[in-house]
Symmetry: D2
Subunit: 146 residues, 4 copies
């Protein structure tokens, strides 16, 4: 899959700290927040690719609703831990975009979670629409970035 | 204040259960979620008044953004506790609406929190607009409900 | 898989309403909250099976941290929609428990999402421990319930 | 109030970005999240004062549950906006600690919100306990920091 290879060149790293309300009474971060951290990751990847997601929606009228998501929870994250979020664009073709994520504890590099999200490319009317070619090129790192 | 007296006639009760992700590592519900429970309370009050908030926004183009909120936290709420939410409309005039809330543990009627929210009445453009009279009458229970 | 067949007998239904803060600026419920709704579903299933999850943690010292989760997002959920949550226990053996979920719009029965969670059975020390037989029987509906 | 004057010397600044799930269908950040941002502010203030809150709970056995909170919402915050969080310790005596907050849009310095939280100083048993003097001195900036 040629797009897969192209997309693999786009990797982004960012960090977040576990917030107190993200913990639950088990004393660790609740699993639903990992999806929010994944979203922080793809937000930064898209910003670095020159297509900040806010502008994508507001200016280009392109939306990326999540149509599938999955995560493995390998080790717990605790309050105030710094989480490294590694995001990889692994598909961007037709009406589909896919990101893969690895979360690590920044203190000891231990892998906490691996996951993915698949998105539909949609227009303002909420209907699927082909990813604009210029956007696809920027995302995959094969166009003129920024 | 005549509106205060009128408004006092509108009281609503509903319940919610403390969700696992609403707890934090202290083992109790995190204080930010109380604002969400207050919102459940006023949502039900408005539904009972015949002005479901969703239709208010979608059909009437009236929005009630929060401009002030406050809460006292009197006793902790724990996972799976049933919370009684008592909501009282205490002001509805001009461009302001105010709700007061009392949260109780449904098991033993212990008061957990008292709080309030003040809302601006706004139009679709986000600018303050006088509360429509028909809406004010329904909210305060002095119009033809439903 | 005999346990699968046994487990299939345990199905639970409950409902929730989409809360305002569960929506995002796309105008629909944010995908991370679906994991919270799944949790509401398994909480009710366990309550109906006579093993309320809070007591499981507090009394029995058994914890079910999520080790894997996945969801497909088929149709959007909107503010104030009533969501039917159908939960099915599909595995309960050794140190693993699995639940499968179907979310439907209660208004028109349209399927909104299908998903699953896999849990490790752990003790107070956070280490995996075999699901106690009495608990397994209650969960799968083959023991003396209540 | 001498403590008030002392405390006034402790000010902290940090930033956060508005996350997508923090927005609601009104297109702006939901008001409950401001309490979470306030918490980010006091977390950083305490870290800078040499008493990271996690260690306070885990090592010192001191907890600061919120007993009162309030906020004014002056201007909306939007997706991906950078929020400046200014936190001021305004009381630390007996069994009470108070923080005051100002949130600004980092882009144009516009004030978005002003608020406060009051905390009880509690021990591991959840009962109020006098703020340890060494902690009080570090918090107010009158002890040996770090």
């Amino acid at each position: 899959m040629s797009d897969g290879k192209q997309a693999a060149s786009r990797v982004s790293r960012t960090t977040t700290r576990v917030r107190y309300p993200e913990t639950d009474r088990m004393g660790v971060a609740h699993h639903a927040h990992y999806l929010v951290w994944f979203e922080l990751g793809r937000t930064e990847l898209m910003r670095q690719a020159g297509c900040a997601y806010g502008a994508l929606e507001d200016v280009d009228g392109v939306f990326f609703p999540v149509i599938e998501a999955g995560a493995e929870y390998i080790a717990p994250a605790r309050y105030d831990d710094v989480i490294d979020i590694e995001t990889r664009l692994t598909r961007a073709e037709g009406v589909r975009v896919r990101f893969d994520y690895v979360l690590r504890n920044a203190g000891d590099s231990r892998v906490l979670s691996e996951g993915f999200t698949v998105h539909a490319s949609c227009g303002r009317d909420g209907k699927p629409c082909r990813l604009p070619e210029s956007l696809r090129l920027r995302l995959t790192g094969h166009g003129d970035e920024r």
